[in-house]
């Protein structure tokens, strides 16, 4: 009648259909518009970079799975079985990392640099710390910072925000500060240009904000991320940046019309939707998340005021490192919790 296949476990005996692989698949779909927009704007090189990055990440994970734990020789002997096991545990996280890494790189980057970056992201940032779910910082932003310091600096400075100007693209002069003083700049951009990404220099996936918006809507609809998180980040960031950019003018001026250019320029929006919301490296309780997003937004606004390069990746790393601390101190009180009255001493 009942054979040995009956499973005994603790409750619950029903579970949701959601899996890690499904969630990561959703993120890949959400990233697709940005990836396609990058190819449209920057040509076939963007596609090559995306391909190299994704393949590099997946291949690194695969090779690491072969080498690490359990004996290389043994695994080589049962190569077929090892491949099947790898496929069973493959959860698309490396694809997401590869895609995000490609999308936050400028199109002028060399393909071998991308390959090295993707190997760094997976092998050192993710797998050395224990693989999926155990990495301390976002692999993609860590890899971008690694490439930024290791390779041609000018490439990354050029991938700044601001209009494409001939002869000026490599100097870093086209920063937001100049752009905002529209009067002195001949080819100032409209907010619509920034939104669509037309005529704007930048990283492959960060320029077209419309594509990012599509991804955001998809992620919210699938309930992968919480809808208020990117909005909170962008609102706090935009408002603080507007406050600070008042100092650009000769006499301090509060100009709310700068709000849109601020949040639409650079990688802020991409980071808010796809990188700050990374499960592994963001806090878990609602209070921790509030601290994380508001803190990140404030830091980004302040750092952008002082620097001429895109600093979102650095901010993400800083906030990621703070997450264990945030998690430790932002613990929710249980439902029905009543604060214990301190007993008065001496009475």
């Amino acid at each position: 009648m009942i054979d040995n296949t009956v499973v005994i476990s603790t409750p619950p005996h029903v579970k949701s259909k959601r899996t890690t692989r499904g969630i990561m698949g959703d993120v890949c779909i959400a990233l697709a518009p940005a990836a396609i927009a990058g190819i449209v704007f920057f040509g076939y090189m963007a596609f090559v970079i995306e391909l190299v990055s994704v393949l590099g990440c997946v291949a690194t994970e695969f090779v690491y799975y072969f080498i690490a734990k359990g004996g290389f020789a043994k695994k080589c002997k049962n190569a077929k079985l090892t491949c099947i096991n790898w496929w069973k545990q493959f959860d698309l996280t490396s694809v997401v990392t590869g895609l995000i890494l490609a999308l936050i790189l400028p199109v002028t980057v060399k393909w071998y640099e991308v390959l090295i970056g993707s190997i760094f992201a997976i092998a050192i940032v993710k797998m050395f710390f224990g693989g999926t779910g155990k990495n301390l910082v976002n692999p993609a932003s860590a890899a971008r910072v690694f490439m930024f310091i290791s390779f041609s600096l000018t490439t990354y400075v050029a991938a700044n925000f601001g209009p494409i100007l001939e002869g000026e693209t490599l100097t870093g002069a086209t920063n937001l500060a100049d752009y905002l003083l529209q009067n002195t700049h001949a080819s100032a951009l409209s907010s619509l240009d920034l939104f669509l990404g037309t005529g704007v220099n930048g990283s492959i996936g960060e320029t077209c904000k419309l594509a990012i918006l599509l991804g955001y809507i998809y992620l919210c609809a699938r309930k992968v991320i919480k809808w208020w998180q990117p909005l909170l980040f962008l609102a706090v960031f935009g408002f603080t940046a507007v406050l600070l950019s008042g100092f650009y003018f000769e006499s301090y001026r509060f100009d709310i019309s700068l709000f849109l250019p601020h949040i639409l320029s650079g990688g802020a929006m991409f980071a808010a939707v796809f990188m700050f919301t990374d499960y592994v490296t963001s806090p878990k309780g609602i209070y921790g998340q509030l601290v994380y997003y508001i803190g990140g937004a404030l830091l980004l606004a302040v750092m952008r005021y002082f620097t001429k390069i895109e600093v979102v990746s650095f901010i993400i790393l800083i906030m990621n490192i703070l997450v264990p601390l945030i998690d430790k101190y932002c613990i929710r009180k249980p439902f029905g919790y009543v604060k214990e009255k301190k007993q008065k001493e001496g009475k």
Partner: protein, 438 residues
């Protein structure tokens, strides 16, 4: 009274309820078993002490084991027959239990208590104790203790939420025995000395809501369909707006007593007919049962007989569950016997039973998002897997957990969170006991 909507509570999940499998089948009475095997552990607390000896003839409803202490309940014979054996065995949950074997002699002699007419509060309390009534929602807390609360009480909340998927026995009972449930609730309210009676019913049972609306002294609260709406703390908050403090606080400390509708029905029968608690309604359901049903079953019936009564298995089940799918007990086979608290038997197909291998935790926090107690289950799992149970309890607030299972239901990595929580709780109790000895 006209039904009102309940308050919103944070968290909770929306599993597919699968109630359509059995919600349309009316209550049936299952024939008496050939042998009734009645455990003396029928409630929370100490097991009862047998008062019959081998060879003794017992009637239906005759006392066979006496309660041992205040948190314990009397046990009654569910059939008329001869006591064949009294021996120790292993219960369905793996704990040692004492079983009384009674062989049916086919007679219908009853040994009921005398019926009460217009009883006083003390008479009702005594009757609830003498009839061995326990909470029939699943935990099995002796009702006699509940109706003598330690703090002043002003509200009685009836739990008709039945938020567990699959289970429909309370639904059918509310539909077919509305009047008895209301009378039982009035008796409990009289015993408590309160007049404010609230019943909470989930919105997926509009037929029950309509029936209870016709009583003037009962306030009906429509509950949003969400799990765990029937959890005691959640139900009290949603229906009355009061929060129950963390353990060791009880609902009574917030002025509320919560009783299941099936318990109210049992109280009504105990008062009006003098019938002790020896049978209950349970749901037999799941994709692997040929004919899902809601049936009256005598305490001590073998689960296998119940499933056979419902047409047997239509396919080999992947999981056998006693109780609801979110909190119930997984069994190895159908050799166990029903208790007073058995609210369902589920035979789940491989598609229904989630038996996937866990994958690494993503730290996504989806468990914390749905926790109705606002806890952090991922921290508990993280620290307890490293063996640090004190940190697990501290950062996960584990001791406040009601073990509803919403976190594990929602986990995309299928982590065994409830297992980690139970382990942490057990280890913490050991640590606390050790601390007291010093």
């Amino acid at each position: 009274m006209k039904a009102v909507r309940g308050k919103y509570f944070f968290g909770g999940v929306h599993p597919h309820d699968k109630k359509a499998l059995s919600s349309a089948s009316p209550l049936e009475v299952m024939p008496e078993p050939e042998v009734a095997v009645i455990s003396t552990s029928q409630s929370l607390g100490k097991p009862a002490v047998p008062v019959v000896e081998t060879g003794r003839e017992v009637k239906v409803g005759e006392l066979i084991a006496k309660a041992d202490g205040p948190i314990s309940s009397d046990v009654f014979s569910s059939i008329s027959g001869t006591v064949e054996d009294i021996r120790d065995g292993i219960g369905a949950n793996g704990a040692p239990e004492k079983f009384i074997f009674i062989r049916n002699n086919g007679k219908t002699d009853k040994a009921y208590l005398p019926p009460l007419s217009s009883p006083s509060a003390d008479e009702i309390k005594a009757r609830i104790r003498d009839a061995g009534i326990v909470g029939l929602g699943g935990a099995g807390f002796p009702t006699a203790v509940k109706v003598s609360p330690r703090s002043p009480v002003d509200t009685l909340v009836l739990n008709g939420a039945e938020c567990e998927p699959y289970l429909t026995c309370d639904h059918r009972l509310m539909l077919e025995k509305t009047d008895e449930i209301v009378r039982g609730a009035r008796y409990i309210a009289a015993a408590l000395g309160v007049t404010n009676i609230i019943i909470g019913i989930e919105a997926n049972k509009p037929d029950c809501i309509a029936q209870f609306e016709s009583y003037d002294d009962i306030k009906v609260v429509i509950l949003k369909k969400k799990y765990p709406m029937g959890g005691e703390k959640q139900l009290v908050y949603v229906t009355t707006g009061r929060k129950i403090g963390l353990p060791p606080k009880l609902p009574a400390d917030s002025g509320v007593v919560v009783e299941n509708v099936a318990t109210a029905y049992a109280v009504c029968e105990a008062v009006e007919l003098g019938k002790p608690l020896y049978e209950r309604v349970l749901t037999v359901s799941g994709g692997a049962v040929a004919a899902p049903k809601n049936i009256w079953v005598k305490v001590g019936t073998k689960l296998e007989d119940i499933v056979n009564y419902c047409g047997g298995e239509s396919m080999p089940p992947k999981k056998v569950v006693q109780g609801g799918p979110m909190t119930g007990l997984a069994l190895a086979d159908l050799g166990a016997y029903t208790h007073k608290t058995t609210s369902g038997i589920l035979l789940m197909t491989p598609e229904e039973a989630a038996a996937e291998e866990p994958t690494p935790c993503l730290n996504c926090g989806k468990c914390a998002d749905v926790c109705p107690m606002h806890l952090m289950p991922m921290n508990t799992e993280f620290y307890s897997s490293a063996g640090d149970y004190e940190a697990a309890a501290k950062y996960g607030n584990t001791m406040a957990c009601i073990e509803c299972g919403a976190c594990e239901y929602n986990c995309p990595a299928k982590r065994p969170l409830i297992q980690a929580i139970r382990k942490t709780k057990a280890e913490m109790r050991k640590i606390m006991m050790g601390g007291q000895k010093k």
